[in-house]
């Protein structure tokens, strides 16, 4: 059903697929604070979908709703055309949703390799006995998944640090390792929360290239939050604009950039 041609839309000459995820009238409150107010939008297969907006607009909260980390008070999340039942975050991850975090959330006591290997956990199913004996399926899985992980490591050009404990890495590399961990899961939807925050120009260029390559080579659907308008314009197929928990714009980058409401929101509120 997803692959029916009528589901495909063409934006700026790029064809993207049917709806992978759809947020329907999401409202999320923290006590008195309404972080998200009645927002609806969709994420289509194969696209790069950006969520932008000033600080505190509710962007991270939205990703957390998609990840199942926050349960919205109102609204539904639809996945591949059906409403997603109440799920724990780990169950959402097992559906094929992987993510990175605004404040890096790596496993600091583990090496880069082990961190990226955790991305494969949902593809590994050997029982405890087999693991304890390092035998049969456990052993085969370990080798098989190591090969997959090494491909991701090559792709993101972090071979040299694979045996380094993550705690010792500089910020920019940590961001890259976090992306590697998410990619290792071979997600159908990749959520990136400010993947370029705090990076210098060169690191930003590298990261942009990786994001585009992931989307191109593996066809991975990506939803990303980003502050840098230039980056958003270059990367994304469609943009959702949020401000004070509301959606104030949704469309192709050019449309959104020239929209008066969006311009006002960006001029009226400081970016950082």
């Amino acid at each position: 059903m997803l692959d029916q041609p009528e589901n495909f839309v063409t934006i700026d000459g790029r064809t993207i697929g049917g709806q992978l995820m759809e947020m329907k009238n999401i409202t999320l409150k923290f006590g008195g604070v309404t972080a998200i107010k009645d927002i609806s939008f969709d994420i289509r297969e194969g696209e790069i979908r950006a969520i932008i907006g000033p600080n505190g607009a509710g962007k991270s909260s939205m990703l957390n709703v998609i990840s199942g980390f926050y349960i919205p008070q109102e609204g539904e999340v639809w996945y591949k055309g059906t409403p997603r039942p109440a799920m724990k975050p780990f169950e959402v991850a097992r559906l094929g949703v992987a993510r990175t975090f605004q404040n890096i959330a790596l496993f600091e006591g583990m090496t880069v390799l082990d961190n990226v290997m955790t991305g494969r956990l949902n593809h590994m199913s050997a029982g405890i006995a087999a693991q304890a004996l390092w035998w049969g399926r456990a052993r085969a899985e370990e080798i098989e998944n190591r090969e997959k992980v090494e491909r991701v490591i090559d792709f993101l050009e972090i071979q040299a640090i694979r045996k380094t404990p993550v705690g010792r890495l500089p910020y920019g590399l940590k961001k890259r390792v976090e992306l590697a961990r998410a990619l290792a899961a071979e997600p159908s939807l990749l959520l990136l929360d400010e993947p370029m925050a705090g990076m210098n120009v060169e690191e930003k260029e590298d990261m942009s290239r990786f994001i585009l390559d992931v989307n191109d080579e593996f066809g991975t659907t990506i939803a990303l939050i980003e502050h840098d308008m230039g980056v958003v314009m270059d990367l994304s197929d469609r943009v959702v604009v949020m401000d004070y928990g509301r959606k104030i714009g949704d469309g192709a980058p050019d449309e959104v950039r020239n929209d008066q409401t969006v311009i006002d929101a960006y001029l009226g509120v400081s970016h950082d």
């Binding site: 975050p89 780990f90 496993f107 955790t118 304890a132 456990a138 899961a185």
Partner: protein, 358 residues
């Protein structure tokens, strides 16, 4: 030179994942195993078996169990001794109810009971962390020791309130109880400890180990990448308590020969915790290093002054022991949280690049 790794290239991930990617490690281990399996049994005195070799291995095993839970999965526990007690009492009941049961099998099965109880007392970890969890495990500690005392069925209604290890036979030799030779007990302990150590090494380097470490390092991220925290924590409690329970059964059946409930009180919990901390949280090797230190130190303090002709009374030795261990704990907590194992890793790295410094 000793630890030269040049020329040892890995041509496959399988080779890289081998237990000993560096050949010298395997050689070193072979030497240790030769000592443990051949040289010590041939040469050790009764005193060495009873004050060093047997207790070091049993304490190392208990610390390894605790380390799975605290060092790998990040769940603090102060109830180790009580879970050792569960293993010991379970073993006692099995041996007395089913005298035909092979004693080594009984010892290995006793961990199943402590694992079950460990899971029950691990349920609070799904809600609480750190200090509060430690207090909850302390409650388990008090409750279980109280139970060992009050539930007389556990010690077969003995007037003494203690459990007494009977003579147990296997293949025509006594392997436990008053008639058993130290060397036999030593071999049983060595076999069980070697077996469980191997299983632990495998578990901690594979999927489950990564799941535990992820839970320890950042539980929220762990859950968001697909880890079922409940399963991760409860398997850690189960496997940790299994090992601790087996260590408890060995403690009574292969070493002490008898035990009253208060043997499993808090001081033993702390002793095991200290071994894990000094040895290194999150390390398998560390448990052995820590146990060698904690078990060996009082023995050395007792023997050394006499050997060099100084007179120190035994109360003083006891004080010295406590002071040294106390300072070591503080030192390791502040300076090297990864304990003796980290110091060994450092020495090893230095040896690998020796004689060329960075």
């Amino acid at each position: 030179m000793l630890y030269r790794t040049a020329g040892q290239f890995k041509t496959s991930y399988k080779a890289d994942q081998a237990l000993f990617p560096v050949r010298q490690d395997a050689v070193l281990l072979a030497i240790i195993l030769t000592f443990a399996w051949v040289i010590f049994p041939l040469t050790a005195s009764e005193f060495a078996f009873q004050t060093l070799l047997i207790p070091i291995m049993i304490y190392a095993l208990a610390a390894m169990g605790l380390n799975i839970l605290t060092g790998y999965a990040g769940q603090l526990s102060l109830g180790t001794a009580a879970f050792m007690g569960v293993g010991a009492y379970a073993c006692y009941k099995m041996i007395t109810l089913m005298p035909w049961l092979n004693p080594v099998v009984a010892i290995l099965l006793s961990g199943v009971f402590s694992a079950g109880i460990g899971v029950v007392f691990g349920i609070p970890s799904l809600r609480i962390k750190g200090f509060y969890l430690a207090i909850a495990t302390l409650a388990a500690q008090f409750f279980l020791v109280w139970l060992f005392e009050k539930w007389s069925w556990l010690y077969n209604d003995n007037a003494s309130g203690a459990i007494q290890v009977p003579n147990l036979e296997m293949f025509g030799t006594y392997i436990a109880g008053p008639q058993a030779a130290s060397v036999t007990e030593y071999y049983v302990v060595l076999f069980v400890v070697s077996l469980l150590t191997l299983l632990c090494i495998n578990l901690t380097r594979g999927t489950l180990g990564r799941t535990w470490k992820a839970t320890r390092d950042m539980d929220i991220a762990a859950e968001l990448i697909g880890i079922n925290l409940m399963k991760s924590k409860l398997t850690a409690f189960a496997i940790s308590s299994y090992i601790v329970g087996v260590a408890g059964a060995l403690y009574v059946f292969m070493w002490k020969g008898a035990a009253e409930p208060n043997v499993f009180d808090i001081p033993l919990s702390f002793q095991v915790l200290f071994i894990a901390i000094i040895g290194g949280l999150g390390s398998i090797l560390g448990n052995f290093l820590g146990a060698i230190l904690i078990v060996g130190l009082p023995v050395i303090l007792n023997l050394l002054p006499a050997a060099i002709g100084v007179q120190i009374d035994s109360a003083m030795v006891e004080h010295l022991n406590v002071m040294i261990i106390g300072s070591l704990i503080i030192f390791f907590l502040i300076v090297e949280p990864h304990g003796l194992a980290a110091l060994w890793r450092l020495i090893r790295e230095k040896l690998i690049i020796w004689p060329f410094p960075h």
